[in-house]
Symmetry: C2
């Protein structure tokens, strides 16, 4: 359908490049090469050049890439040349950790609300936020036009909550619940399951 469609696997590497570039910039470096960047992230120089060249010509022969210029462009490509509001659903320990998480700063995201269905949690403070009742979630998401959610509810509730998020207009879910979610094709899901990640490594032990 779209001949210029970029493979998911390439898009998935861009945030890694961006993260490494940010660290180089923090150290005061001005330029880098596909070779050097590749060593930092553990990816071949050829692949990095190929990935980046899908989106334009951001380097210069002989000198490499301007770190700031490449960062600006990657941010624009990833649409994080803006701050996205994100909600957290599930006010357990993981939800609480995400509310307090410092790692969203300067990376395109900001937590704006946390919800739970447990009446004993609703109204309590977590960080600077008061836990909201999940019954008001649809309305709040719509009124604030929020597109991103992080889901930290128990596995048994996850699909049901995901359905509500989709109805409310959420377009991307970072799912911490240990289940695969069924969502419409136009809604993206990324999975974080510490047990799954550990199990991917024990095979090799």
């Amino acid at each position: 359908m779209n001949p210029n469609k970029i493979p998911d696997i390439i898009v998935g590497r861009l945030p890694i490049y961006l993260r490494a570039l940010q660290r180089m910039a923090d150290r005061g470096l001005k330029t880098t090469s596909s070779q050097e960047l590749g060593e930092h992230v553990g990816i071949s120089a050829a692949q990095i050049r190929k990935d980046i060249s899908q989106f334009g010509e951001f380097g210069k022969q002989g000198t490499g890439y301007s770190i700031q210029f490449l960062m600006d462009n990657l941010r624009e490509i990833l649409k994080i040349d803006q701050i996205w509001d994100v909600i957290v659903v599930g006010a357990g320990d993981m939800g609480s950790a995400l509310v307090h998480y410092q790692g969203f700063q300067n990376r395109g995201f900001r937590v704006v609300m946390i919800f739970d269905s447990d009446k004993s949690k609703v109204g309590k403070k977590i960080g600077e936020f008061v836990v909201e009742d999940i019954v008001n979630m649809l309305e709040k998401i719509k009124s604030l036009n929020i597109k991103l959610a992080m889901l930290t509810v128990p596995a048994v509730a996850a699909q049901e909550v995901a359905d509500k998020l989709v109805v409310a207009g959420i377009k991307a879910i970072l799912n911490y619940a240990p289940v695969s979610l069924n969502v419409p094709m136009n809604v993206k899901v990324q999975y974080i399951d510490p047990s799954v990640h550990l199990q991917r490594m024990t095979y090799y032990l």
Copy 2:
């Protein structure tokens, strides 16, 4: 070198299959098919059959797979037919959430210790554990023969701590710090970075 080497990408899917099978078992189901399992996890039936067949013949023509039998075999393949002790390094909010996390139960892991370098955190209780001083980490890891660690320290400290973990004999690191780690080839690393995962979705919005 090893002609029977299984690609990482296949190993990476096994925990997803196992998780879905566990849920089926919890619902009282006894058998499933590659078709049905595929619908649950969003992977084609052909691929599931091919993946599973790399390790043996666990199904029966006409009837599919015994859920319990396949689970037992996947657990054995992934070496989680045992409980692995895991340490947490970094006693911030994320480390604390991992100590309290219920999702390791019955999935092959158990947190046994948490470390931090911050003297104001050392000695405090988190869950059932007392935060240990990182200066004693090498000795403790060795004496308990621990192979798995979850790393939740700040980005600037991550590589240094990872180096210590490697020296202590850790063979697999679940890294929550937003940096790529350099480790020897025989040490596995998996990355969890909420910002990176979110950035992989904003591209499509």
